[in-house]
């Protein structure tokens, strides 16, 4: 991959300066709320699982959370590649927003997985493949977000985190595979095939969560962009770097 041109990396390009949420996002909010309500209703009314009973209903929040986390990190990786190719600010904010929302859903996947684990396995934490790899996923992307926080310059930050976004995606793939292998060696998988009605309910939840993901990510991105324009506005008054240093004045005092 080569960087061809960075001629027009105006930090202000890509957002209108107001950080306003557009109407499609508002429409999406309505769909998201409807989707979630539908998902909850369906999840609570489908017949209980034959083996696990009602506890299995936790699957309808656990699995979609994990799915959305994957989707989010996939979007982060693709946006990172897109940024490296185009140097457009939008790709960087998309990567950042998506990683942020992804970490959030990894958290809900972990929490719901542990709550599901207690009644089924008797413990909150067990060395189940999904639980372990989700926990690792969580820390990998916390690292990604930490790297973003640690880099002050916007273009430098975009570049570093784009590189890390790609490496992290590679890591996730390998971590998943290796933990799967690790678990099959230690214990048999506890998964059983799913009844069609349950599957339908799962699909409804997955869809609803995906819409929520889109809504949250565009909100987060709007926020990142609004904060950036606020910061830029603050800097607009000051001229150039040399202004940071003014004539020394030893007489100056700050009484009062």
């Amino acid at each position: 991959m080569t960087t061809d041109s960075e001629t027009s990396t105006d930090p202000q390009a890509g957002h209108d300066g107001s950080g306003r949420t557009s109407t499609p996002v508002r429409k999406l909010d309505g769909i998201a709320v409807a989707g979630i309500v539908l998902a909850i209703v369906v999840a609570m009314t489908v017949p209980a699982d034959k083996l696990q009973g009602d506890v299995q209903r936790l699957m309808y929040v656990h699995v979609p959370s994990a799915w959305v986390a994957f989707l989010a990190f996939g979007v982060t990786a693709l946006s990172s590649i897109a940024w490296l190719r185009t140097h457009k600010v939008t790709w960087d904010t998309t990567a950042a927003a998506s990683a942020f929302v992804g970490v959030f859903f990894t958290g809900t996947a972990l929490a719901s997985g542990m709550i599901w684990g207690k009644p089924t396995w008797g413990v909150f934490w067990t060395w189940d493949a999904r639980l372990v790899s989700t926990a690792l996923l969580f820390v990998i992307y916390l690292g990604y977000l930490a790297l973003r926080r640690a880099t002050p310059d916007p273009i430098d930050r975009a570049r570093r985190s784009a590189i890390m976004g790609i490496i992290a995606a590679l890591q996730v793939a390998v971590v998943y595979k290796s933990v799967d292998w690790w678990v099959t060696l230690h214990q048999q998988s506890s998964r059983n095939s799913i009844d069609p009605a349950l599957r339908l309910s799962l699909w409804v939840s997955v869809l609803a969560f995906t819409i929520v993901y889109i809504g949250l990510t565009s909100r987060r991105r709007a926020l990142l962009e609004a904060e950036e324009s606020l910061r830029l506005r603050g800097l607009r008054g000051s001229a150039v770097a040399g202004d940071a240093i003014s004539k020394p004045n030893l007489e100056a005092r700050s009484d009062g």
């Binding site: 107001s18 950080g19 949420t21 009602d54 506890v55 959030f104 599901w116 926020l223 506005r233």
Partner: protein, 54 residues
Amino acid sequence: MADPVLAVLQAAQIDNPWSWVIAGYTIVYGAMFGLTAWLWMRLNRVRRQLDDEI
């Protein structure tokens, strides 16, 4: 597990699968709602600051 936690769990009838389901749904959807509210409030505040300075 610490005794108080155990006591709470027993009070919440851990044998009842629905209590687990409700706990899980509350946490997941509650967090989702919380995040949305937080983003919404922050966004509004930043926008207000932007508008003020124009």
